[in-house]
């Protein structure tokens, strides 16, 4: 699936990476619910690092929309919560 790192562009991620991101996303969602900003930021940083390290950056001219968007950890908790949906940052996609 295609993931956007907010403000930094899109990456294609493997199914395996998607699953690991989903786990971190659950933790991030829980941290946000618990108002635990350091915890949330830690999970978001981990998600960014994973996508950067293992994702494949899409070319600039690629026109596909993303399946998920990951906010950066320098957003405040309030800003992040506004962006977040009930299911977290990564949607539960049906397996392809």
């Amino acid at each position: 699936m295609i993931v956007r790192l907010m403000g930094e562009g899109q990456y294609r991620v493997s199914d395996d990476l998607r699953d690991r991101l989903s786990e971190l996303d659950d933790l991030a969602g829980a941290a946000a619910e618990a108002d635990d900003e350091p915890e949330l930021d830690g999970h978001l940083d981990q998600m960014w690092e994973l996508v950067r390290a293992e994702g494949e950056k899409l070319p600039d001219a690629e026109l596909s929309p993303s399946d998920a968007v990951i906010p950066p950890s320098d957003l405040t908790l309030a800003e992040t919560r506004r962006l977040m949906s009930a299911e977290g940052f990564i949607p539960d996609l049906p397996a392809e």
Binding site: G7, L63, D67, V69, L83, I90
Partner: protein, 243 residues
């Protein structure tokens, strides 16, 4: 359901498909979409340019503030020379506060620099996508049936819409940051201005200016009094001697 960006691009692609449903001729809509994208790209370019300008202005302001902070020490020295430790303390306190604030401003400037670099890259990415849309729309017009074209256009347009929304949000955040920095710089300016020695005799001077001016004036008065006393005293002695 995903984050704001996906939702934003969904809104945009929904809007575009609605537009496409209404259009009789998909090729007309394609050209229209492309024109809209070019307009929005211009807005993004202007937004990025505004952030760059605001950042440059802040850099000049910060450099000036650093000079003002140095001046405060000179004032403290002057006040101390005049035997006014209270005034010297006040000037040094302001200097310390202003220095702390300046350090905070430096950190924000570093963050803004990074944001600015990302914005410039985002603008480049968006321009590449709009250009890709321009060439794709010609292919779509030439090769696909109206129904197929609609699907492809919808996807491409929502991809671009997402990039637009993401860049727009990044511009907004950078703009917020420059506003915070401007407020901070303004506060430092007030701190240092309360102590600047410019225009000592004028009406624009601060409390410290006026007090220092008073000291200097009262020193002058003391000196002159002493001189007059000296002259008078000398005159008196001369008189006494003559008698």
């Amino acid at each position: 359901m995903a984050g704001l960006m996906s939702r934003t691009s969904n809104v945009i692609s929904a809007w575009i498909s609605k537009l496409l449903d209404r259009a009789e001729d998909p090729s007309v809509t394609l050209d229209y979409s492309y024109e809209r994208q070019r307009e929005q790209l211009q807005n993004v370019k202007k937004g990025v340019a505004d952030v760059v300008t605001a950042k440059k202005r802040l850099e000049l302001q910060t450099a000036k503030l650093e000079q003002e902070v140095v001046k405060l020490e000179g004032q403290a020295r002057q006040a101390l020379g005049a035997g006014r430790e209270d005034l010297a303390r006040g000037a040094l306190e302001r200097k310390a506060l202003a220095q702390q604030q300046l350090q905070g401003l430096d950190q924000q400037a570093t963050d803004l620099e990074a944001q600015q670099q990302k914005l410039i890259e985002a603008e480049r990415r968006l321009a590449a996508k709009v250009e890709a849309f321009r060439s794709q729309k010609e292919v779509i017009k030439a090769q696909y049936s109206a129904a197929e074209a609609q699907v492809r256009i919808g996807e491409a347009a929502s991809g671009i819409g997402e990039e637009m929304a993401d860049t727009g949000l990044a511009i907004e955040r950078a703009r917020d940051k420059t506003e915070q920095m401007q407020a901070r710089a303004g506060a430092i300016e007030e701190l240092t201005e309360a102590g600047t020695l410019e225009d000592m005799t004028g009406t624009g001077g601060s409390e410290l200016d006026r007090e220092l001016a008073q000291i200097s004036a009262s020193h002058q008065v003391d000196d002159e009094l002493a001189r007059l006393k000296g002259e008078l005293g000398a005159g008196q002695e001369k008189k006494e001697l003559e008698q």
